[in-house]
């Protein structure tokens, strides 16, 4: 398809490769055509009709997102017909949309509102308000996601996200005509269906129809309560995206400013999930090696391989629903968030001599599924709810604004101690392939006594945006204790987005692949593309965040989890060794089979 197409848009000649749409052509010459149902990550729907343009000679207007550009087209994006149609379409959407903007969580972050602000000149609603004629419902049962049908404009971005990116299809389109709506199975609550809480639908909802359940006020209340000791942990991926919601350019690392902001807001201790990410590597890496030993040396038939990572709660719920027969293949390690939570109300409380009952444990996550994870009944090994509140990156940005802070002008500070120290290996947890890379850096060294044989420790084969990435690491020069692995080839696979996760699991199921270690992140790009990250998202933004993650890693003085001094200390003082009894009690968990359909 190297043929190129010549056409004219608003009098300007454009050349574009065959197969591109009118919208692509317009964007190539910086002609802005408004869109709503269109999203770069998704297949074209062509149903909102906001992007219609006039093609000279055509009977009707055409949707520029769906119409292929063809030679000789003469296109007008602002003709009388286009303007009239566009205004009417926007007015129609407004008439079925609960435009209670000042009360809306998405106020000033709503694509429909943006369009209205551009196109509305009359000061009054053109058409009859349909909202009150409909029995709209709000589903607020899920701890992660709130679905408010009164704000829905039926663009189906959420439906396509859930189907194409996540292969979950918890959301679908139901009914037709005036009754048509976005619905779960039998209009059940999102909480009661196969939803993984990944929040990718939220990232792509143009309005406030799908939002995270926010705990901003609860967290402020805790902070402002003198009797509470509020600790906060920040996930690896938040520091490369938070800035986007606060006027900082995409792809900037804002760790130091974020820490300062959290301290100014009034958290009693600002700590790092990266610390427990390093701890996860210790536990999970050891678990993998132990499983390999049991399988290869002890020939223990009960040992399950491949072992899969368990950091991503969206992935966990997905496998619980979809491949429950593989639950024993999941690492028993809790996610870094929950390891941190369990330690905050035990180890941290002891060391700081604080009554764990008075500790409020907050996490800042790029993720909405983490809210569900923190609510799981298994996550109370400290004797309390290990993590009390989970805030998304977006909620933190909101708190920072509410706190009156000029984020860009904040100085940079370091995390508090204890549980604030981390390595480069922990930082890369935020990108797809990061857990794999971090685990390999440590496991390889345990087995061979040498660093992984990759330049600057950068295990590039497991990095990238390819949906499924297989890599084989040959183990050579083992230390005596691990010599049974001499010459072995460790087969790994890394996948991100649940559609890719399904592909991997199908291969495992059919026996087509004989992996040893699987890393799966529920969201496209890994946590940097998480459902709690600043909106919008697209491949370009995810790539910039990923580059920032690897920059942060490269700049860290320590880049291997087992060298984290606080990790060494916690094993010495508290846990003993990886997979010890205490670790099992606090840092490991189990899983639950859930309904598949």
């Amino acid at each position: 398809m190297d043929k190129s197409i010549n056409l004219k848009i608003d009098g300007v000649d454009v050349q574009i490769e065959a197969g591109k749409t009118i919208l692509d052509a317009a964007r190539a010459i910086n002609v802005q055509i408004p869109t709503l149902c269109y999203h770069e990550d998704l297949c074209v729907a062509g149903n909102c009709r906001v992007c219609v343009v006039e093609v000279t000679g055509a009977k009707t207007l055409v949707a520029s997102c769906a119409m292929p550009a063809s030679d000789g087209m003469d296109i007008h994006t602002n003709s009388l017909k286009v303007r009239s149609a566009r205004k009417n379409v926007i007015e129609l959407l407004l008439s079925e949309h609960n435009a209670d903007c000042t009360n809306c969580y998405k106020n000033k972050k709503c694509e429909l509102q943006d369009l209205a602000s551009e196109y509305k000149t009359s000061g009054e609603q053109l058409f009859i308000d349909l909202v009150h004629m409909k029995n709209y419902t709000v589903d607020a049962f899920s701890p992660s996601i709130i679905k408010d049908d009164s704000k829905c404009i039926r663009c189906q971005r959420c439906v396509r996200t859930c189907e194409e990116l996540q292969h979950v299809s918890a959301l679908g389109v139901a009914y037709k005509g005036d009754k048509m709506k976005i619905s779960t199975f039998f209009e059940n609550s999102m909480y009661d269906v196969v939803c993984t809480n990944c929040g990718q639908c939220i990232n792509r909802c143009p309005t406030g129809a799908l939002i995270e359940r926010n705990y901003v006020d609860e967290v402020w209340d805790a902070i402002l309560d003198d009797k509470k000791h509020v600790v906060v942990q920040t996930a690896p991926a938040t520091r490369v995206a938070l800035g986007e919601d606060l006027g900082v350019e995409t792809g900037q690392i804002v760790t130091g400013k974020m820490v300062t902001a959290l301290k100014r807001i009034g958290f009693d201790s600002v700590l790092d999930t990266d610390f427990s990410a390093d701890l996860t590597i210790m536990e999970e890496g050891t678990e993998l090696l132990t499983r390999l030993k049991k399988a290869l040396v002890d020939k223990d038939p009960t040992v399950k391989l491949p072992m899969a990572t368990s950091c991503s709660p969206g992935w966990i719920k997905f496998i619980e629903h979809t491949f429950p027969e593989y639950l024993d293949n999941l690492s028993t390690c809790k996610s870094p968030q929950q390891m941190f939570g369990a330690l905050a109300k035990t180890y941290y409380a002891q060391k700081r001599n604080i009554d764990p009952a008075s500790i409020v444990s907050v996490s800042i996550m790029p993720c909405t599924a983490k809210k569900f994870e923190a609510d799981r009944p298994e996550m109370r090994s400290s004797g309390y709810k290990d993590v009390d509140y989970v805030l998304t990156t977006r909620e933190l940005a909101r708190m920072i604004k509410q706190g009156g802070l000029d984020f860009g002008a904040l100085p940079e500070t370091r995390y508090d101690s204890i549980m604030g120290e981390s390595t480069g290996a922990a930082v890369i947890f935020g990108a797809t392939g990061g857990v794999m890379e971090a685990a390999l850096r440590t496991a390889y060294e345990i087995v061979t006594g040498r660093e992984v044989p990759f330049e600057n420790l950068n295990i590039t084969p497991v990095r990238g945006m390819e949906g499924v990435r297989e890599a084989t690491i040959k183990i050579e020069g083992t230390v005596p204790e691990w010599n049974f692995l001499e010459g072995a080839e460790l087969k790994t696979v890394t996948a991100h987005g649940l559609t890719n996760a399904k592909l991997v699991m199908e291969k495992v199921k059919t026996g087509e692949a004989d992996y040893h270690f699987i890393e799966i992140m529920g969201c496209p790009g890994g946590c940097i593309g998480g459902g709690g990250q600043p909106i919008p998202t697209n491949m370009e933004i995810r790539k910039k965040r990923t580059e920032a993650i690897y920059r942060e890693d490269a700049g860290k003085p320590i880049r291997k989890s087992h060298e984290n001094p606080e990790v060494i200390a916690i094993y010495k003082e508290f846990l003993g060794e990886p997979l010890s009894h205490k670790s099992h009690e606090l840092l490991h968990t189990h899983y639950k089979e859930r309904q598949r359909y």
């Binding site: 149903n47 017909k81 379409v89 005509g177 005036d178």
Partner: protein, 386 residues
Amino acid sequence: MTYNKLKRIDLIFHEDCECRKVLEKTFSKSNDEIINDILESGLKGRGGAGFPTGLKWKFTAEQPSDERFVICNADEGEPGTFKDREILFRVPSKVFSGMAVCAKVIGAKKGYIYLRGEYRFLLPELRKALDAFHRDIKDLIDFEILIQMGSGAYICGEESALFESMEGKRGEPRNKPPYPTVAGFKNKPTVINNVETLVYAFMICKHGPMRFKELGTSDSRGSKVFSVSGDTPIAGIYELELGMSLDNFVEEFGDGDTKAVQVGGAAGFCVPRKKFRETIIGFEGVPTGGSMKVFNSSRSMYNVLHNYLGFFEEESCGQCTPCRVGCQQLIKGVEAVKKGEKKAVYLDQLLKLSETMKLASKCGLGQSVANSFSSIVENFREEMIY
């Protein structure tokens, strides 16, 4: 303006099937010859849109593919249309034969009849006729026809929605291009023709293109089966030569007090008495899939419009904004004007809206709501208000 006198024709229902004999004769010709016959006849699609049938077959045949399909669109849902039911009831083998000719021309091994759920009672007889047909043509062509039932969705008559439905999905129209001739059912090149079109194609094979071509006008060749209902003493199904004036039609079918005729169903146009004389029924005038609904002066055109809008509000697939919300606004709007909650000038706002629906909707359903809306509102404005 020239038009034909109303003339009854007897091609479709004439009990002259001899299907096997005609198929044998037809199959002795080359595909190009058959396509040329169809093209020469001037046959255009009888579902309402009026695309030249020969071209459709030709494009599909020329599209490279390992598999092609012929589909008979029997999802006759347009209000006021019931001729396909009658054709399938009375001369099913002609329909099958038309499909078989198309299958030979395009190289299809499988054909489908998508029958609307409301016609399920036809199924036992249709199956019997189909079995007999299959037996009859076994040695002539490797071609099998299957029947797929609809389940009550007007929009599935739209060809791409029909494919979606046949693929087990919601009947939501697709973006076009690609067109069915390139990517239809299962994304394979597909001919989808209305029941009546297939029978005419077969009759053209039987009688040769001239017999068809000599009927009608230069833009609207041949005859057409009309479904006549409403305020008429002789409601029913009539095969008439195309190109008659509405005046002529009303003379024959009206009850002496006809005030308007809705041509083409809810998606068609309402023609008031004063325009009967100048209105030609055909592609050069007012096209129709066959629905002719007669209203006498006792009828409230507000009620007629309201009924149609209620129909569209419910039967829109709901995916695109202009149609989904537009239909709701039109019906709520005319109600509000009627009740005096909105000023009469709001009708002009609604007319503009209907124009947007015509220009910006994704498929023919949304695009055609404006036909009845604007023709009724513009011609019977007073009735909308008082």
